[in-house]
């Protein structure tokens, strides 16, 4: 068989089948194909609209009327773009960097000490490096950063004029209403409202996408329940104070630990020593600090 025979055979197909195609092709185009020269104009128009929307959001944040209801736009995080810059920012913010066996790192998820909002130095260990490492992060690397450096949970509560119990009650009420049961509040932090828009501060910590699942007013707060869908799905509660422009972040999902507990982590995780890290000792605990993030990234790229 050659292509000529195949072509000839196709030429003798059943007329019913050919009629079906002729009828489909006789229809006017299902979707007009835009001439290519218009693509740039359309892109420019879309960009203008996007900039206008961004401007409008910024304007609303800056010039919010007292008690005016606002709607937050939480954008998806694309881990595939700008991963290196994100990793670099994470490194810069990290107070401590541990490198250990990935399997051991996963065990750290069970490590959830009590809520300690009164402790001056609490840390959040970002586990995504172990579960779903962004492209620029080396598996088995855990970044530890202190939240609210210069402002403890206690100070945050003082600013919000709330007690631990009052903060927890917002959280509990939401979970009881939505799920019929609650989870313990393990984390609280105070953020500037615009931070909700910055991937690296909130979304970056969890990765994946985020969407507002519930939005309501309670007391003087505008409450937002936001679902983060990344390496794990979790719902966090944000209380926005429209007059004082701060944002309380309440969550049960971040694994928290006291700095003194790092000794336990170090003991249990069989830290792997690497020439890229320099050993740092504090109170008899082995810590490994990245010597040079640039060099690390460069080495990884090679």
């Amino acid at each position: 068989m050659n292509k000529g025979q195949l072509f000839a055979a196709i030429g003798d197909l059943d007329e019913g089948l050919l009629e079906e195609t002729a009828a489909a092709m006789a229809q006017s185009p299902a979707r007009p194909v835009r001439p290519k020269r218009h693509v740039l104009w359309i892109a420019a128009a879309l960009l203008t609209l996007l900039l206008a929307a961004c401007g409008w959001i910024a304007y609303r944040i800056q010039l919010k009327e007292p008690n005016e209801k606002s709607v937050y736009q939480v954008n998806a995080v694309d881990w595939t773009s700008g991963a290196e810059q994100r990793a670099e920012i994470s490194f810069q913010r990290a107070a401590m960097i541990l490198h250990c066996d990935t399997g051991k790192g996963n065990e750290l998820h069970g490590f959830r000490p009590k809520l300690d909002v009164t402790n001056k130095r609490v840390g959040v260990m970002t586990f995504y490096a172990a579960i779903q490492p962004p492209p620029a992060l080396k598996p088995g690397t855990f970044l530890v950063r202190y939240l609210d450096v210069g402002m403890s949970g206690e100070e945050a509560l003082a600013t919000a004029r709330l007690s631990v119990e009052q903060a927890a009650s917002y959280y509990t009420k939401y979970w009881i209403a939505e799920e019929g049961e609650t989870t313990p509040l393990l984390m609280m932090e105070l953020l500037d409202a615009p931070m909700l828009y910055q991937d690296d501060l909130i979304l970056g910590e969890f990765g994946g996408e985020a969407e507002i699942v519930s939005h309501w007013m309670e007391d003087e707060y505008e409450c937002l329940a936001i679902r983060f869908t990344g390496e794990m799905t979790s719902i966090h509660l944000f209380l926005f104070h429209p007059e004082e422009q701060y944002l309380l972040h309440l969550s049960a999902d971040a694994a928290r630990f006291d700095v003194s507990d790092l000794q336990t982590i170090a003991d249990e995780t069989e830290i792997i020593r690497s020439k890229l890290y320099v050993e740092y000792k504090e109170n008899g605990t082995d810590f490994y600090i990245l010597s040079d993030p640039e060099e690390w990234l460069h080495t990884e790229k090679r």
Binding site: A8, G11, D12, A22
Partner: protein, 185 residues
């Protein structure tokens, strides 16, 4: 005028049949011929030959789908014209005449066996296409029967050209597997 009325005119041997056919399907056949020949003059001649062929074949034929029937005729005539033109381009003049004379020594190219093989091949493709989803079937026949450019198929079906290319690639691959399977049997 409906297709049935036009066919009736052919059966009555009324010359208005050709006029009616040209009015209704002139641009359709010209599109097919243009796709095959890429030359307007040649295409127009093919279309005129199509009307003549239809006149000679109806009756006794009574096509169920007049449009598809004319499409087949036009395609076949355009293919012959394309081959003749290609043959002229290869040499033309005396060498073409000499080669044509020599071809008389060769066994008949269309033996009953080869015609049977061709019919079997057509039946295989027909079965294959009937088993395909409509979208794949339409894209395949639009490309390989009507010889529509890919961009035009995409435009008519509201798809991206890249998608049409992908569908064609997959359908060709499936057809190949299907034909190989049938050959084994």
């Amino acid at each position: 005028m409906t297709d049935e009325e036009i066919v009736d005119l052919y059966w009555q041997r009324s010359e208005t049949a050709i006029q009616a056919t040209e009015e209704k399907y002139g641009s359709y056949c010209l599109t097919i011929a243009s796709h095959m020949l890429a030359d307007l003059q040649d295409a127009e001649e093919s279309v005129n030959d199509t009307w003549l062929a239809a006149w000679n074949r109806i009756p006794p034929t009574r096509p169920q789908y007049l449009r598809a029937y004319l499409g087949k005729l036009c395609r076949s005539i355009s293919v012959s014209r394309f081959r003749a033109r290609a043959s002229q381009k290869r040499g033309g003049g005396e060498i073409t005449v000499a080669l044509d004379e020599l071809s008389e020594c060769l066994p008949a190219p269309e033996t009953p066996e080869s015609q049977l093989e061709l019919r079997e091949l057509t039946a295989s493709i027909q079965r294959f296409l009937e088993g395909c989803p409509k979208r794949e079937r339409v894209i395949f026949t639009a490309r390989y029967f009507y010889v529509y450019p890919i961009e035009e198929i995409a435009k008519h079906l509201g798809m991206k050209a890249a998608t049409v290319r992908t569908v064609l690639h997959r359908t060709r691959k499936k057809l190949r597997e299907d034909l190989e399977k049938e050959e084994l049997q």
